[in-house]
């Protein structure tokens, strides 16, 4: 079983977010990028586990991005994986990202494609499903547990108010979230090996974006917290009713 793991780079969670060009461009100046946690902690680590425990024969990583995405993908390689592919394209349109990944994956016969349930920057959560559609594969979203036996994959998924368990045949695309695996820390051996693992750059496919971001807005500043003493329940109820208007 060959696994392809989709990796995207996202701003560090403590990054100061700012916009330029009249609030139409995310200003990356001074921002450090990290591997999207859902891709790293869950999709990638589960893929590595599947290789360590037998079912997977190869784990490849793919990212769609320009050269500035390479430190992040090498960092992913430090965690594990046999090789990485950077598709040289710059886009935050989920469709063109998915089309690029699908284009590459189609030519290289992966049995399982894993990605995070969403990236923590744009939170569209749609790349995985689009890749599945473009590859004509089945898709299971929001997995919290993935097991593989032969060609059958058993996936636990979160659904409204509970969980369901699905069984599905390979090939398959799965988007992953908490529960799928435990976060790992790259070790020295992995970090040193990352330098020598292949990182292939392929040209982006000619796909037109179907969406573009026309503007960003900051959320309103948080207002202060009101502390109400524990023995003043009446006051609390009154404020929740008249000020917060939630009850």
């Amino acid at each position: 079983m060959k696994i392809l793991v989709c990796i995207s780079q996202v701003p560090d969670t403590t990054a100061k977010i700012a916009f330029s060009d009249n609030n139409t461009t995310f200003n990356t100046q001074g921002v450090t990028f990290i591997i999207n946690p859902y891709d790293e902690w869950y999709a990638l680590v589960r893929a590595l586990e599947l290789k360590e425990s037998g079912p997977a024969t190869a784990v490849h990583l793919v990212t769609v991005g320009k050269a500035d995405a390479e430190p992040v993908i090498r960092k992913a390689l430090a965690l594990g994986g046999d090789e990485a592919i950077r598709i040289d394209a710059d886009s935050n349109d989920p469709y063109s990202i998915a089309a690029n990944i699908a284009d590459y994956a189609k030519a290289h016969n992966y049995d399982l494609v894993l990605c995070g349930k969403e990236s923590i920057d744009y939170n569209n959560g749609s790349v995985g499903a689009m890749v599945a559609e473009l590859l004509d594969m089945n898709f299971l979203g929001f997995a919290s547990k993935i097991d593989v036996a032969g060609t059958t994959v058993t996936v636990k998924r979160e659904i409204d108010g509970g969980e369901e368990t699905d069984a599905c045949e390979l090939p398959l695309v799965i988007s992953c979230q908490k529960g799928v695996a435990e976060a790992r820390i790259p070790n020295m051996r992995g970090i040193m090996a990352a330098r020598t693992k292949p990182l292939t750059v392929v040209a982006g496919a000619a796909v037109a974006a179907v969406s573009s971001i026309t503007g960003y807005e900051m959320p309103p500043a948080k207002s202060g917290v009101k502390m109400i003493s524990a023995d003043n329940m009446d006051e609390l109820v009154k404020l929740l009713h008249s000020e917060a208007k939630v009850i």
Binding site: K16, P71, K75, P186, N187, M188, M192, A194
Partner: protein, 600 residues
């Protein structure tokens, strides 16, 4: 304007020569030059703390059974215990600077960082550097992987700073197969879970110590209960008793009576490493301080808006950044000295020891400056937190208590200050360091007409001149002290402390100036405004500190006209132009406050 820091030929500055020679910015290493791989390793350290240490700080401090041992094992699994151990002994063979970076990052890990530093430093290095092939292949791979943990037993109840005065004895058994160790060691870090102890003892009536590798399981070794400490409560510290402890003769480390030399050389590395650790801790505390200052509101505004608080945040950052500049400059110097010796055909391990020893003065300086910087940083951290700073529920309480040990172990700061001056003068006497010539020049300058020439107005011209003058001030005071006090100088400890303080300020100021100069050459002046402010404020204050120390020293040993002349010289050599330090500190703090974390 971008200054060119290119230099045609590389000048090699030997240890201690910073007092008499000029260094060039292009030649020093600055932390802004870390490679991608080094930063990845650093991130692994930070992630390790975030995942395994920070959530468990209370359990660690309660010394929950097996927890620290387990954390060390986990660090070992990640490879963090073998960073600079050669690959043939199961390590990763990384350079010294990388191991410093790891020490820095893990330095934010409170008690864990002490366990880590003791294991990888004094726990492993004596065997790695002085062990024979059998000893190295038996112990180092296990220590580098974390399967075994290491400790180091030098201090005794009656032998602390005076480490060579230990009473622990070793006696060869009649069959010549074992040494029997008898004695008591105190304050032994990691003792509670260590598998291997490097123990210093005197064989028979030897004048000097010898070193032995002692395994936990050897007959006759026992441990006292854990010490109750002010801070680093999670770090295991115990007394270790040797009662006819049977140590196979092949476990004598290096040669008989070579123990004190081992101890001293390992300390050289330990001192600079300690400095590295304090930087990591300082940065973390600054980040916590500024986060709190941004959140805490009084009189209707976040307290980070108040100048009194901004001053503290700026000062925390200035000292930390300055200390860091010196630490990595010295790390690079040690590495280069080592590489030069290796290139000259010396055995790599010998070269490493020699290269480190060459910069023992700088290591002592860094130990003092780093530990005192961290103490400043945690003290003001508590202050910014106000009442919450005094609460055991908030992070400053632990940071404040844990910081304090750094001024005591690896040689107290008094001992390190004395060593700084002592080593300088010894090298001068041996002819390794030409202090006499330059000191004479300064003496001549004192009686000639002062040079009132201004500096050109290029960036750094002023600071370079100030630093050149600091050197003169020190040469003058030290030269005067040597002349006046002669052999009695060693007894005039107050003067030694003054001279050491002057040397510390000089080395740190110069390292900082060179770092900022290199940074400007890399990024341009516009991108380095706050860094330039940091440099200016630090050097401005250093001039005053050097003046104060110099004045105390001069008043202690000089009299009459001579004193008046030297005092005038001191004033001239520590004179700086007016600087609006208030505005500079505001700028420095503003950037940290906006970033909501340490950002330099």
């Amino acid at each position: 304007m971008i200054m060119s820091t290119e230099n045609a030929t590389k000048t090699t500055i030997k240890g201690g020569e910073f007092l008499i020679k000029e260094s060039h910015a292009a030649e020093i290493f600055i932390p802004e030059e870390w490679t991608e791989e080094q930063l990845m390793i650093a991130d692994t350290c930070t992630n390790f703390l975030a995942q395994h240490v920070n959530p468990n700080l209370v359990r660690i401090d309660e010394q929950e059974e097996g927890l620290m041992d387990d954390l060390m094992t986990k660090a070992g699994e990640l490879g963090l215990l073998g960073i600079s151990v050669p690959e043939e002994y199961g390590g990763f063979g990384k350079d010294f600077k990388t191991s410093m970076l790891v020490t820095e990052r893990l330095g934010a890990g409170h008690s864990f960082s002490v366990a880590f530093a003791a294991h990888t430093g004094i726990g492993t290095l004596p065997i790695l550097y002085y062990g024979n092939e059998e000893q190295k292949s038996k112990y180092i791979p296990k220590l580098a992987s974390g399967e075994w943990k290491g400790a180091y037993c030098l201090t005794e109840p009656s032998a602390g700073s005076d480490a060579n005065s230990g009473k622990t004895k070793a006696k060869l058994t009649e069959d010549g197969k074992h040494y029997l160790l008898n004695g008591q060691k105190m304050w032994i870090t990691n003792a509670g879970f260590a598998d291997v102890f490097t123990v210093f003892a005197k064989i028979d009536d030897d004048a000097n110590l010898s070193a032995f590798i002692v395994e936990k399981g050897f007959e006759g070794l026992s441990l006292n209960a854990e010490e109750h400490k002010m801070g680093i409560k999670g770090s295991s510290t115990r007394q270790v008793f040797f009662n006819d402890c049977k140590v196979p003769v092949e476990n004598l480390l290096s040669e008989r009576q070579n123990g004190f030399k081992i101890a001293v050389n390992i300390l050289n590395l330990g001192r600079i490493k300690l400095g590295g650790g304090t930087i990591g801790a300082s940065k973390e505390v600054i980040s916590q301080t500024v986060k709190y200052a941004n959140e805490r509101e009084q009189f209707g505004r976040p307290i980070s808006k108040y100048g009194a608080i901004r001053y503290k945040i700026a000062e925390q950052a200035i000292k930390t950044f300055a200390s860091e500049s010196a630490i990595y400059r010295a790390s690079q110097s040690m590495e280069e000295a080592t590489d030069t010796l290796i290139a000259g055909g010396m055995d790599p391990i010998k070269a490493k020891l020699k290269g480190t020893e060459q910069f023992a003065i700088e290591a002592a300086i860094i130990k003092v400056h780093g530990s005192e910087t961290l103490d400043y940083v945690v003290d003001e951290g508590v202050q910014v937190y106000g009442g919450m700073g005094y609460s055991a529920e908030a992070p400053m309480d632990r940071a404040y208590r844990d910081s304090r040990i750094n001024r005591i172990f690896e040689g107290t700061n008094e001992i390190n200050r004395m060593l700084t001056v002592d080593m300088m003068l010894k090298r001068a006497m041996k002819g390794e360091l030409d202090l006499m010539g330059p000191a004479q020049q300064v003496a001549n300058e004192l009686v000639s007409i002062p040079d009132f020439g201004g500096t050109d107005d290029t960036l750094f011209a002023k600071e370079k001149k100030y630093i050149a003058n600091f050197k003169k001030a020190i040469l003058m005071a030290a030269g005067g002290a040597v002349q006046k006090l002669m052999m009695n100088l060693a007894k005039e400890q107050e003067v030694l402390m003054n001279l050491a303080d002057m040397l510390i300020e000089l080395y740190v100021s110069e390292s900082l100036q060179l770092r900022v100069e290199k940074l400007v050459s890399m990024k341009g002046e516009d991108a380095c405004k706050e860094y330039i402010d940091i440099m200016r404020v630090y050097i401005n204050d250093a001039a005053e500190n050097i003046f104060k120390s110099g004045k105390e020293a001069l008043n202690a040993f000089a009299e009459g006209d001579e004193r008046r002349m030297m005092m005038m010289g001191l004033k001239r050599f520590t004179k700086t132009e007016d600087l609006n330090t208030t505005e500079a500190r505001r700028n420095i703090a503003a950037k940290i406050i906006a970033a909501n974390k340490y950002c330099y």
